[in-house]
């Protein structure tokens, strides 16, 4: 029983980490109408940054999170400008896959191609006694930070003026323009925030999900699954989906690792069938 609880707590930490990555992707797709397939590579860049500067020291850890977030936000804004001439998600997908490949090549040239393990900052390396089990402090902290981030994002999107603009742009960008706000400004801000979040998640998540080749695709696919399950530009949906995906991944990894992909696909299929069912019913009733 206690073992299952530990796995559930592990899944919570992993799910909240995935939420930090997927929230940016949800907003990018929903409000900026942009398919950003280099999102996983941004996480990988953050994880390498955390390993290079922040492994086992506080100053480097904080600096890499802050610096990485700011630089990535600038890059995200730049990417939004660069993608503007492209029409349609297919061409955006091609362009961002290209950006991802180039970035991956740069990361592999600078940091090498071996998987790296990253130490949490001093003071967070040990474990505490929870429910008769030793549990790493860093993961508990990750849960706290992830929960705070989820709450903050929810409040910003649901309550603040900026959040209203983001939701309005997702619903109808032309109406936002009519109301006197340039929707393109909202769009590049959202992409900047999404890119920043992905890199900060990489720095914070590096001690749990450390830099390794291929991690970019894993993170991208998990966050895309969350976006599809969570629905259009919905922070609450993304949070729920991230928690489900986190639980599925960790519990499968503990019992039967080879079943994890099949379980994830089953989750995706159920969500998809439910969504198309709802849509079909809505069309029939109206």
């Amino acid at each position: 029983m206690a073992g299952q609880l530990i796995i559930a707590v592990d899944g919570l930490a992993f799910g909240l980490l995935l939420f930090a990555v997927a929230a940016g992707l949800t907003l990018t797709l929903g409000a900026a109408d942009t398919l950003q397939l280099s999102h996983g590579t941004l996480y990988l860049a953050g994880a390498y940054l955390g390993w290079w500067l922040g492994s086992g020291n506080w100053a480097g850890f904080v600096a890499s999170a802050a610096l990485g977030g700011v630089v990535a936000a600038a890059a995200g804004g730049g990417l939004a400008l660069a993608l503007r001439p492209l029409r349609g998600h297919l061409h955006q997908a091609l362009a961002t896959v290209g950006v991802g490949l180039i970035l991956t090549d740069v990361l592999a040239s600078v940091f090498g191609a071996e998987p790296q393990s990253v130490d949490p900052p001093p003071g967070l390396t040990g474990s505490v006694h929870v429910f008769g089990h030793d549990y790493p402090i860093y993961r508990l902290l990750l849960i706290a930070v992830g929960a705070a981030l989820a709450l903050a994002l929810h409040l910003v999107v649901a309550r603040s003026r900026a959040g209203i603009l983001v939701r309005a742009t997702a619903a109808d960008a032309d109406m936002v323009a009519v109301a006197g706000v340039d929707p393109r400004r909202v769009q590049w801000s959202v992409m900047a925030a999404g890119a920043g979040l992905a890199v900060v998640a990489g720095v914070l998540g590096a001690p749990v999900l450390g830099p390794a080749p291929g991690l970019d695709h894993t993170v991208l696919v998990l966050s895309l699954i969350i976006v599809v399950i969570g629905g259009h530009a919905s922070i609450r949906g993304a949070l729920l989906a991230a928690l489900v995906v986190g639980q599925v991944q960790t519990s499968a990894a503990a019992v039967w690792p080879a079943a994890a992909p099949f379980l994830l696909f089953a989750t995706l299929a159920v969500a998809l069938l439910a969504q198309t069912g709802v849509r079909a019913r809505r069309i029939r009733t109206t």
Binding site: R87, H89, L94, A95, D105, A108, L220, V228, F265, L273
Partner: protein, 330 residues
């Protein structure tokens, strides 16, 4: 979207006139290649043919049925591992392996497609990506069946019972060329039929197709299954060419390359083949000469070129037209 496609078809029409002659020359060159090129280039060409087949599979969905896919490597994996396992345990007969690989991929797609083809456009793109990457992960983790990251090596295939196994690069190349030629030829015939017409119609305006009484969803599902079968056959040919398959042959990048090949040179099957040849030549012949070890970066540049070709040429065309107008007025 539809208007843009129409202008594209019009622009391609003069090119079609020279196509039969060009195709004949290209075919003759392809058959003569083993006597002209060195062994390494021929083995690269064999892989290019496998990717061309995978690109045709992606083209059937992306360019014809309007379902952009980033996950065709999933069916390459299913077909490839089926062929490899059969080659190790049952028979080294090449045609039998291709048949089994095609069937296995099509059956898997029939089940997965029942869910996946409910989605359209961007949602389909994302879900196909998930299917591809999850299959890749499954191939890595199911070590009992697939050998995990170490992969499976297989004995050389034979073309017919009693024939000598295919071990020389030239022979393998000709086998892969013949098989992919037959498959691409049949696919071309299929797409000229009523089936192909309904797929194209569904891509441009699905409600109308439904209103005309065609079950568009079932047609798209059938296209998904056929595309998977083609990708499965490509997997069997990959195993025949390399005598080895590993999860690295079925990554997200492979799916992305198939999509890139499909959109790089016009939305036809021949365009997909040309795109695949260009991509593999860039990766395996140009990169080792110019920038060794940096294949991802150069492929990334190809992706960017494919994405920005349209807006850039549009802008250039626009500017030229405006200049002429000014000339008229001034």
């Amino acid at each position: 979207m539809t208007a843009a496609d129409a202008t594209e078809t019009r622009a391609w029409r003069p090119a079609l006139a020279v196509l039969p002659a060009g195709t004949a020359v290209a075919l003759a060159a392809a058959v003569a290649a083993p006597w002209i090129l060195d062994a390494y280039t021929i083995s690269v060409a064999s892989y290019a043919l496998v990717l061309a087949l995978l690109a045709c599979s992606a083209q059937l969905l992306t360019g014809v049925a309007g379902l952009p896919t980033l996950g065709q490597a999933a069916y390459l994996a299913i077909g490839g591992y089926t062929a490899a396992i059969i080659g190790r345990t049952v028979t080294t007969n090449g045609p039998a392996q291709i048949l089994a690989a095609t069937l296995a991929a099509a059956v898997a797609a029939a089940v997965i497609g029942a869910v996946v083809t409910r989605a359209r456009a961007t949602a389909f793109l994302l879900i196909s990506l998930a299917v591809g990457e999850l299959t890749h992960t499954a191939a890595r983790l199911a070590t009992g069946v697939t050998g995990g990251d170490a992969g499976l090596s297989t004995p050389a295939v034979v073309v017919a019972p009693g024939a000598t196994p295919l071990t020389r690069d030239g022979h393998i190349y000709l086998w892969v060329l013949g098989c992919s030629g037959v498959i691409i030829g049949s696919l071309t015939v299929l797409l000229r039929s009523r089936f192909g017409l309904i797929l194209r119609a569904a891509a441009s305006h699905e409600p109308r197709v439904r209103a005309a009484g065609h079950p568009a969803g079932r047609y798209l599902w059938a296209a998904y299954v056929i595309a998977a079968g083609v990708a499965g056959a490509a997997g069997a040919l990959l195993v025949a060419a390399h005598r080895y398959i590993a999860p690295t042959d079925t990554t997200f990048t492979v799916s992305a390359l198939a999509l890139l090949a499909a959109v790089l040179a016009g939305r036809t099957l021949l365009g997909a083949c040309a795109g695949a040849l260009l991509i593999v030549a860039t990766r395996d012949l140009v990169v080792p000469e110019l920038v060794p070890g940096h294949a991802p970066a150069l492929l990334g540049v190809l992706f960017l070129a494919a994405a920005y070709a349209r807006p850039l040429t549009d802008r250039l065309r626009h500017r030229r037209r405006r200049c002429r107008c000014r000339g008229c007025v001034g």
